[in-house]
């Protein structure tokens, strides 16, 4: 049944997926023109886009009110959620693969292939995809489009607060410290993923977070009235 749900999602959403991919690809092709963009930055941006790309697929269900169709089929809601995590991860992997191919195919690209396919660079990208999926999926499963919008609005509000806080006496240092922490963490992650011990521990942490997110999503979807 898992295979049938995955198949159903891909058949009934393939036009939407293809339609959404075109502007994304155009944007990335444009990004590749920038000489200052590093391989890491390019792949991190691709990973972040991949999260929203696959989330958009499941937001469609809420918009078109098709959840009742899925849940009236002979399949449990747990399997539906499992299939969605599987589809999301597969789409994200395909998306990162497509981003790498795009960097190869674009004659104006400055990003070297060797840096793109470096295990630690790929590890950061995969981590962003999995953690982004883990954060956004329970929101999508429970609240649909509203959940995604609430997340985006929340991030915007945080950005505005940070922007306003910069103008306050003494707050600039705090905002900069937070931003430095985020970028520093990604750099540290990138550097440390080269060590097998750290990579194994990090993989375990990320998978545990995804498993927690999956459990929460199953619980939320099971309680949802359609």
């Amino acid at each position: 049944m898992l295979r049938n749900i995955v198949r159903k999602e891909l058949i009934l959403n393939r036009k939407a997926l293809a339609g959404a991919a075109i502007p994304y690809i155009a944007w990335f092709a444009y990004v590749l023109r920038e000489p200052d963009v590093t391989a890491g930055e390019y792949l991190v941006m691709s990973a972040a886009m991949a999260v929203f790309y696959q989330v958009a697929l499941f937001v469609r269900e809420g918009k078109l009110k098709t959840a009742a169709l899925t849940c009236s089929l002979p399949v449990t809601r747990t399997v539906v959620v499992r299939a969605r995590y599987l589809v999301a991860c597969s789409l994200s992997a395909s998306w990162i693969g497509a981003a790498i191919l795009l960097a190869l195919a674009c004659p104006w690209s400055h990003v070297p292939l060797a840096r793109l396919v470096a295990p630690n660079t790929l590890g950061v990208a995969v981590s962003i995809v999995l953690l982004g999926t883990a954060i956004l999926f329970p929101l999508v499963v429970r609240f649909g489009l509203i959940g995604v919008l609430a997340f985006l609005v929340g991030m915007q509000v945080l950005g505005i607060l940070a922007f306003l806080a910069v103008g306050l006496p003494g707050a600039t240092a705090s905002v900069n410290a937070v931003l430095s922490f985020v970028t520093g963490s990604i750099r540290a992650l990138h550097a440390n993923l080269g060590h097998p011990g750290f990579a194994a521990m990090w993989t375990f942490v990320v998978l545990a977070i995804v498993a927690g997110s999956y459990g929460l999503s199953v619980c939320l979807y099971g309680r949802r009235d359609l």
Partner: protein
């Protein structure tokens, strides 16, 4: 021992402004049950609870003895479902819907589906949103009838259909009953449809089951007493189910025409009650019923 296609016991669901109270009824295998009631009575809520599209707050639903939550996939594989509001992907064509849905059913019959497509004149290459409401219902019916479902659950399936196809659908449902294995739960406002084909009628009002009985028993025993205000008191309160006052007199619905005849005498005007009479009089001014 009677085998039941559907057993609903003590079903409860509460919303802020509406509640379903301890709904119970049983549909024996091989029969058609009509679910009737005014708008907002809870018909669609019951059907969604049976399909586990809503989370129940109490009670139990069994489909051929299978719990609709514990054995969800097995129970649903035996159900053909037609929704009151279409929930297909509007920008996807019918053929893609079939390709996505058919693999879920081990008993999917492609020849049957293609036969229905021809019979219903369904354009498989057209997007779902390009279809009229009637065609959308026909497509949902074609899917529901193509996997050899043992129980068909149809939520207002005839509301968007023209009279010719409505009659054809009823004929098809009656034909389906010939092998005595299939069962149908049919929610509708069009009570004449049920008079043609239903074996059982379940009437729901304000989230409560008013009765669930055999149609023949209802049509035989229930009647409408017509006259002036005096007939209200003349009908015994325990069998007085509804009263309606109009410009030409009073109509009293009774669940026991023989009792009413005995009490009112041979001169009384007592007509057989149609399902519409029952629905209208029971949904009407209930202040006079008690």
């Amino acid at each position: 021992m009677t085998e039941y296609a559907l057993e609903v016991t003590g079903l409860r669901k509460t919303y802020r402004d509406f509640a379903l109270h301890d709904v119970s009824f049983r549909l024996p295998r091989g029969y058609i049950m009509g679910l009737i009631g005014p708008n907002g009575a809870g018909k669609t809520t019951i059907i969604k609870l049976i399909m586990n599209l809503l989370r129940r707050q109490g009670g139990e639903v069994k489909v051929f003895g299978l719990d609709n939550r514990l054995d969800e996939a097995a129970a649903k594989s035996r159900i053909g479902f037609v929704y009151d509001v279409p929930c297909f992907y509007e920008d996807i064509n019918l053929e893609d819907h079939r390709r996505a849905i058919a693999p879920f059913y081990t008993r999917w019959n492609e020849d049957q589906f293609q036969g229905l497509v021809r019979e219903f004149d369904l354009p498989l290459r057209k997007k779902f949103k390009a279809l009229s409401q009637g065609m959308q219902t026909k497509f949902a019916l074609a899917l529901a009838l193509s996997h050899d479902a043992d129980l068909l659950i149809l939520d207002e399936p005839t509301s968007g259909l023209d009279p010719v196809f409505r009659r054809e659908l009823l004929r098809r449902l009656s034909a389906l009953m010939q092998d005595e294995r299939k069962s149908v739960l049919f929610s509708t406002h069009i009570t004449t449809d049920l008079e043609r084909i239903a074996d059982y009628i379940t009437f729901i009002r304000d989230g409560e089951i008013v009765f669930s009985a055999s149609k023949d028993e209802l049509l035989e025993n229930w009647g409408v007493v017509k006259g002036d205000d005096s007939v209200v008191a003349a009908v015994e309160p325990s069998v007085r189910k509804g009263v309606r006052r109009g410009p030409y007199g009073v109509q009293v619905l009774t669940s026991n025409v023989n009792n009413a005849r005995e009490r009112l005498g041979a001169g009384a005007i007592i007509d057989k009650a149609s399902l519409e009479d029952i629905m209208v009089l029971m949904s009407g001014d209930r202040r006079h019923a008690a």
